[in-house]
């Protein structure tokens, strides 16, 4: 049981294809996912999230990916650690992530 997690994430079976496609249909969000394919990363260290943009904007971009079920955002110290939900997406839509991440 991970204690400090209050932001909602959809269960694997509730991840919807159209929501995932929409979340990935934005350049900035796609770039973030590209970066996360290498492994989890703290939000503060993600260069894909333009550091010049206000943090409310960055938070929003992450929220769209989280609510679509593409990433997990969990508290890690005073940072948010972002993790690509590779297993969940692969289980639900086999091959999708691979083809998107290659493109």
């Amino acid at each position: 049981m991970v204690a400090n997690e209050k932001l909602p994430h959809p269960d694997r079976e509730d991840i919807e294809l159209t929501s995932v496609l929409f979340a990935l249909s934005d350049e900035a969000r796609l770039a973030l996912v590209q970066q996360l394919k290498e492994g989890p990363m703290d939000m503060a260290n993600c260069s894909a999230l333009d550091p010049n943009a206000p943090k409310s904007t960055r938070s929003h971009q992450v929220k769209v990916l989280r609510e679509a079920g593409v990433i997990i955002s969990e508290l890690h110290g005073r940072n948010r650690r972002l993790t690509l939900r590779r297993d969940d997406i692969d289980a639900r839509f086999p091959g999708l992530l691979e083809s998107v991440l290659r493109g």
Copy 2:
């Protein structure tokens, strides 16, 4: 050389991933693409395009898919024949269409 074709379609190399993902991120458009995977079909016969919706709305839905490079819309008699650009999408983003159409 097909004569009667005035609507613009992007060349294969100009098809953008984010545009394709966006076009497919809508239930109605995704349903249409699902229907077209069986083969080309006249717009008038596509049950995926809600026949109760006004034709301007149906035309718009088709336009988004065409401009993203997902389908070809060519004049065929007085209908529009819609064809999934399977080869082009497969060449550009291998595996993407397959995983989306399975989902």
